[in-house]
Amino acid sequence: MNLDLSPEEEAFRDEARAWLSANVPREPLPSMDTADGFEAHQAWERKLADARYSVVSWPEEFGGREASLVEWVIFEEEYYRAGAPGRVSQNGIFLLAPIIFDHGTDDQQRRWLPSMATGETIWAQAWSEPEAGSDLASLRSTARRVVGGWRLNGQKTWSSRAAYAHMGFGLFRSDPEAERHRGLTYFCFPLDADGVTVRPIAQLDGEAGFAEIFFDDVFVPDEDVLGEPGDGWRVAMSTAGNERGLSLRSPGRFCAAADRLLDLYSTVLEPVERTAKSADVVDAWVRAEAYRLYTWGTVTRLADGGDMGAAGSVNKVWWSELDVALHETALDLLGPDAEVESPWTDGYLFSLSGPIYAGTNEIQRNIVAERILGLPREPRG
């Protein structure tokens, strides 16, 4: 049992640290959910890609470095320590790409992955529907077989990045007779296709971080179906595991935030705030450290051939609640200045979405109770 990095891993870390320290923008970029900010974040992705840092774990032919899981975690740690911008390409590179690698054809891999790696094409996810949230299998948007492809109809919502993104991916009911998890198909489609209407939705911070997508007889050719028609649920579930599990929320993000919280604490002079919040400051650091170490355990198990399984749900509850608590603590330390717009208020508003997206924390607790503790399953309506 050890936490030592090999000389190669240390060299990888040093190189990444040096590049990031030389290249991370000094000033934060504008919000990626504005037109200007979206472009600025795309330009940052291009810069990362030119240095082969945008998708370090991918094969070299698609723009990666074939980094190991350990190196990927190291990179993420360095990325957030350097205060680098949020990843506008996140939905594509972390949620969709693993599916394209596992289920995509050679043609799909060649068509979609390189421009995803450079940030030229930004992908938005289209999972939820107005009547299908936690109960995703109750979705109603349809796909109808036509010559050479399919016609999509219906509505998706809460689609992150869809306001400015170029492509979307999601599940549609391709067999009207089938129920729930059966008869669903996984589609990829351009967001400017005929019949697609995107209506941005302002989030708590006022920016259009997600959108509704309306489908009116949208044609999708057969070559843009991911996996087999009717097999969409199984294909999609590998994404859900990724989103909840290791990929989306690397520990580096929380360790860096906990360090910034300590910096903030050391500048707070008001004795009342210091005394009242010191335990919360320590706890935020402890929980981030626990998450960092837990991740090394996960990495070891995955390297041994294990899978995330339901542990992704344990993970998701932890980081999402840590993120909220950490930012609440920061705002409390700011005293009456807490309400003044700052990186802390931005981070706080973002953290509030964590316990909801990627499967609400209530759904995650059901999964932990049923699949890990072995308690009886929830009755299904």
Binding site: M1, N2, V282, L375
Partner: protein, 330 residues
């Protein structure tokens, strides 16, 4: 990078677990709690024969030269079975702090206890133990029982200990100008203190895992309104939160075992105390009234957990220590 127990470490845990489980440890705990010490001494001997007090002792002194990881493994198992006796004091603190003949005694299975007032004001089972020690002004002394007090956990038989006449074990002259470290022990004893906090954390983890296991079993057996209470979301979510809290306490314990520093063991103790507290509260709540009885075995762990939360540094102490360390190193 391999952050998982080795198969040898897992085997060690399961052998120790089997040895203790086959000794009716709950009955031993209950007997110890009312002053019947014979079964407790028997179990102590069996665990000592497996090498637990020798783990941190170098081979040259008859020890096993094992790592703090094995120590954490052992204390997780001890916590799982609510084993009585001053194990933290003997196998973690004194096995490191003592030398020569005194340490040899520990390796051979002598039951020894100690206090480090004011942080650790009482020595567990000091009247029952064969050797007593106390740290005064940062230095280790042989001790004598001053008076006994009653713990919330009757299987921890507490006593105040005072230095024996001519009991000072270190000839080193204390430098009065140097501030006393916050641990209350002089620097040479700091390693022993770190091991005691690590062992306490691991014991809390093991005790909490046991409470969760027993609670999960119970809620599937207990039926109300025609279905098992474990099928209600109000119960499931509480138990899921315990699972999650423990899953994130464990890496802090083993992370501290791999890199044993004051900072790391403070973090482990904070999280283990919090997770175990949650486990105890939820465990009692989902058991209902039966869990509130002394007769039901759950009581052993509920009381042990509450006692250990404030043992070897309270949560407030460890938070303050850790915060100071973190701010200092910036």
């Amino acid at each position: 990078m391999r952050f998982e127990l080795t198969s040898d470490q897992r085997d060690f845990m399961s052998t120790l677990d089997g040895l203790i489980a086959s000794s009716d440890p709950v009955a031993v705990n209950r007997a110890w709690s009312v002053g019947q010490t014979e079964p407790g001494f028997d179990l102590w001997k069996r665990i000592a024969d497996m090498g637990v007090p020798a783990l941190l002792v170098p081979e040259s002194e008859g020890g096993l030269d094992a790592s703090p990881v094995e120590l954490a493994c052992a204390f997780e198992v001890l916590g799982r079975h609510a084993v009585p006796g001053p194990w933290i004091e003997s196998a973690a603190f004194l096995a490191v702090a003592l030398d020569g003949k005194d340490r040899q005694e520990i390796v051979e299975g002598t039951m020894a206890s100690l206090a480090v007032p004011p942080l650790v004001p009482y020595a567990v089972d000091a009247a029952e133990a064969q050797r007593r020690y106390v740290v005064v002004d940062g230095r280790l002394h042989r001790g004598e029982v001053k008076d006994v007090v009653t713990s919330i956990d009757a299987s921890r038989r507490l006593a105040r200990v005072e230095p024996a006449p001519d009991g000072l074990m270190s000839a080193r002259v204390h430098d009065d100008r140097a501030p006393m470290p916050k641990t209350g022990v002089e620097r040479p004893l700091e390693g022993a203190f770190v091991m005691a906090v690590l062992a306490t954390s691991a014991e809390l983890l093991g005790a909490a895992e046991r409470v969760l296991d027993d609670s999960v079993t119970y809620v599937q057996q207990r039926t109300q309104f025609g279905r098992s209470i474990g099928s209600y979301q109000a119960i499931k979510h509480q138990l899921a939160d315990v699972r999650i809290a423990l899953d994130f306490a464990r890496p802090l314990v083993y992370g501290a075992a791999v890199d044993p520093t004051l900072r790391a063991v403070s973090a482990a103790k904070i999280q283990c105390a919090e997770a175990a507290h949650l486990a105890a509260r939820v465990g009692l709540q989902v058991h209902g009234a039966i869990g509130y009885t002394a007769e039901y075995d759950l009581s052993r762990w509920l009381l042990r957990i509450r006692a250990l939360i404030s043992a070897w540094g309270t949560p407030a102490y460890h938070r303050e220590t850790l915060l100071a360390e973190l701010l200092d190193s910036r």
